[in-house]
C-alpha cells in the first residue's frame, strides 16, 4: 500500500489520541514551567501568578556562574572520556561474533537501565571506607588502611562516566556497525598497523558521528541530577542538582523553573554552536 495523504477527516482519527496526550502532558507542562519561571514566590513554598524577572536576575551572581561553569566543564569532561573509551570499544565490538555482541549489549543495556539512585548507591559503596575497594587492597597487602574515596571530584566523574558509557556505546553502535569494512582492509593491505588504520582511516571517517555522539553524551551528562549530590561535595553540584534541590527541598518553584528554562536554552545553544562549528570546519577543509 502506498502512502497517501489523508483525504477525509476520519483519516486523522488514529493521530488523535497520541496528539492529545503529547500536547496535554508534554507541551502544556513545558509551557506551565516557563510560565512559573516568571511567577512571584511567596513565603511557605507557594507562588502567585505574576510577570517578574527576579528569578532570572538571580543568575547574575558569582555563585551561579560557578555552578554553570562547573556543570558545563563536568559534562564536557564526561563526554570526552566516554567517547575516548567508547569509540575503540564499539569499533572492536562490531568485529566480534553476533553472539558475543549480544552478550555485551545485554550487559550494557542492563547497566544503562539502572537509575541514578542505584548507580550512586553502588559507587558510594565501592568507594566507601567500610565496604570499598580499598578493603580489597588492604587484603591484598597493597595498602595499609582502608580509606574513603568519596565524596570528591574523582568519584563524581567516575560514576558519571559509568552512567554515560553504555549510552555512548549504544549511540555509536549503528554508525560503526555499518562502517564499510573495506576501508580498513585497504589500509591494512597497504601496510598500516591495526592501530594506525584505526586512527588514520576509521576515526576520520567517523568525524561527524563522533561529534554528534559528543553532543548527545554532553546533554546526557548535563542531565545527571543525583550523582554529584551523592558522591560529591556541595561545590560539585551541577545545574540539574540545583534545580532538584530548589524544587523539592527549598520549595522555590519559580527559581527552579527559571533554572530549568535556562538549562534548556544552554542545551540547545551548545548543540547549535557545535553544529555550527562543525559546518564551518567542513567548509574550510
Amino acid at each position: 500500500m502506498r502512502r497517501e495523504a489523508p483525504q477525509r477527516l476520519s483519516d486523522y482519527g488514529p493521530l488523535a489520541f497520541p496528539a492529545i496526550m503529547l500536547t496535554v502532558f508534554f507541551v502544556i507542562p513545558f509551557g506551565t514551567m516557563i510560565a512559573v519561571s516568571f511567577f512571584q514566590r511567596q513565603q511557605g513554598g507557594f507562588y502567585t501568578p505574576a510577570f517578574v524577572f527576579s528569578n532570572y536576575e538571580r543568575f547574575l551572581s558569582l555563585f551561579f556562574a560557578h555552578v554553570l561553569g562547573f556543570s558545563l566543564m563536568l559534562a564536557v569532561l564526561v563526554a570526552v572520556c566516554c567517547v575516548a573509551i567508547g569509540v575503540p570499544f564499539t569499533y572492536l565490538m562490531t568485529k566480534m561474533s553476533r553472539r558475543a555482541q549480544i552478550v555485551w549489549m545485554v550487559a550494557l543495556l542492563s547497566v544503562l537501565s539502572l537509575s541514578e539512585v542505584i548507580i550512586g548507591f553502588a559507587w558510594s559503596t565501592l568507594l566507601s571506607r567500610t565496604a570499598g575497594i580499598t578493603n580489597l587492597m588492604v587484603t591484598l597487602g597493597l595498602m595499609d588502611t582502608a580509606v574513603a574515596l568519596s565524596p570528591g571530584f574523582p568519584a563524581v566523574l567516575t560514576a558519571m562516566v559509568y552512567q554515560a558509557l553504555p549510552y555512548t556505546i549504544l549511540v555509536l553502535y549503528p554508525a560503526l556497525v555499518r562502517l564499510d569494512p573495506t576501508l580498513t582492509e585497504a589500509a591494512r593491505t597497504l601496510g598500516a598497523s591495526p592501530l594506525k588504520a584505526f586512527f588514520t582511516v576509521v576515526v576520520p571517517a567517523l568525524r561527524t558521528t563522533i561529534l554528534a555522539t559528543l553532543i548527545m553524551v554532553f546533554i546526557f551528562a548535563l542531565g545527571s541530577y543525583l550523582l554529584p549530590q551523592i558522591l560529591g561535595r556541595p561545590q560539585h553540584w551541577t545545574l540539574s542538582v540545583l534545580i532538584t534541590d530548589q524544587a523539592i527541598y527549598q520549595s522555590n518553584m519559580p527559581f527552579a523553573a527559571a533554572m530549568a528554562v535556562f538549562l534548556v536554552l544552554v542545551t540547545l545553544g551548545m548543540v547549535a554552536l557545535t553544529l555550527f562549528a562543525g559546518r564551518k570546519r567542513e567548509e574550510t577543509t
Binding site: R98, V106, S113, V117, S124, P174, L195, L222, Y225, A260
Partner: protein, 266 residues
C-alpha cells in the same frame, strides 16, 4: 599481540562495568545489618526482606504496577502515531514524532519539573495515576523508536497485495501489519517497562511525597539509614533487566533493534 590487547581492553571495560555491581552483590549477602565488603558471613535474608518487610514489598508492588501501566500507555500512544506516520503522507504530523522524542532527549529534570508544575497547577499533584501518565510520556520515545523501525521494515508489497484483494485498513492492520510489528511492540514495551521500574526523578517529583517506588525507597534509605536490603534490591533490578533484555535477544533481533543491519550479516 593485538588480539591480546583487545581482550585486555574488553576485560578492563567489563571490570569497570561490573565492579560496583560485584561490591553491591557482596554487600547484599552480609549476615548482619552492615554494609561490609568482603561480606561478613553469608545470608540471603536481605533478599527475603524485599518480600517480607512491608515497606519494601509495598514499594516493589508500586514500582511494578507503575511500570506495567505506564509502559502499556506509552505503547498505546506510540502505536497509532507510528502507524499514522507510516501510512499517511502528512509532513506536519512529524511534529508529534519530535514531541515524542523530546522528553527522553532533554535532561530528565526538565520533563520532571514541567510535569510537577503541571500537576500542581491542575490540582492533581500526588495522585498515583499522575505518575503513570508522567512515566508514559517520559518513556514514549522507546516504543516510538522501536515501532518506527518496525514499520520501515515492513515490505509494502505485502500490504499492497492485501489492499488489492479488497482488505480495508482495519483488516490489513489486524492480519498483516500487527503480526509483523509484534516483536517491535514487545521490545518497545519491555524497554519502557525496565526503565520505568528504575526511574527516580520523574516519579519523585510527581508522587514522591505520597507514594514510594523502589528507587524512591532506595534514595530515602540512602539519606536516612543504610540497610543491605538496598543492595539486594539493586541486584534484583540488574538481574531482572538482564533477563528481560536476554529474552528480547532470544526471541527477537536485539542487534537490529540497536541499529545493526540484519540477521544475515556477520
Amino acid at each position: 599481540m593485538s588480539s591480546l590487547l583487545h581482550r585486555f581492553y574488553f576485560a578492563l571495560v567489563g571490570l569497570f562495568l561490573a565492579s560496583p555491581l560485584i561490591v553491591v552483590a557482596g554487600v547484599s549477602v552480609n549476615a548482619k545489618q552492615t554494609l561490609a565488603f568482603p561480606p561478613q558471613g553469608f545470608s540471603l535474608s536481605w533478599y527475603a526482606d524485599i518480600f517480607i518487610d512491608t515497606g519494601w514489598r509495598n514499594a516493589l508492588f508500586a514500582s511494578l504496577i507503575l511500570a506495567i501501566l505506564s509502559a502499556a500507555l506509552a505503547v498505546a500512544i506510540a502505536l497509532p502515531l507510528s502507524w499514522f506516520l507510516w501510512r499517511r503522507i502528512a509532513p506536519w504530523a512529524n511534529v508529534f514524532q519530535l514531541l515524542g522524542i523530546a522528553p527522553f532527549t532533554l535532561p530528565p529534570v526538565i520533563t520532571a519539573l514541567g510535569l510537577l508544575t503541571f500537576w500542581a497547577t491542575t490540582g492533581f499533584y500526588g495522585q498515583p495515576w499522575t505518575a503513570v501518565i508522567s512515566h508514559a510520556i517520559f518513556f514514549v520515545t522507546l516504543p516510538l523508536v522501536t515501532l518506527t523501525l518496525g514499520f520501515t521494515a515492513i515490505d509494502r508489497s505485502l500490504v499492497e497485495a492485501a489492499a488489492t484483494m479488497g482488505a480495508d485498513d482495519r483488516t490489513i492492520f489486524r492480519t498483516v501489519v500487527l503480526p509483523l510489528i509484534t516483536p517491535y511492540l514487545v521490545s518497545g514495551y519491555a524497554f519502557a517497562f525496565v526503565l520505568s521500574l528504575n526511574e527516580y526523578i520523574v516519579a519523585y517529583m510527581t508522587v514522591g511525597f505520597t507514594m514510594e517506588t523502589l528507587p524512591i525507597k532506595i534514595f530515602n534509605a540512602l539519606r536516612y539509614g543504610y540497610t543491605p536490603t538496598m543492595a539486594s534490591v539493586t541486584v534484583l533490578f540488574v538481574v531482572l533487566a538482564a533477563v528481560i533484555y536476554s529474552l528480547i535477544a532470544r526471541f527477537g533481533d536485539l542487534l537490529k533493534l540497536l541499529g545493526a543491519n540484519s540477521e544475515e550479516q556477520s
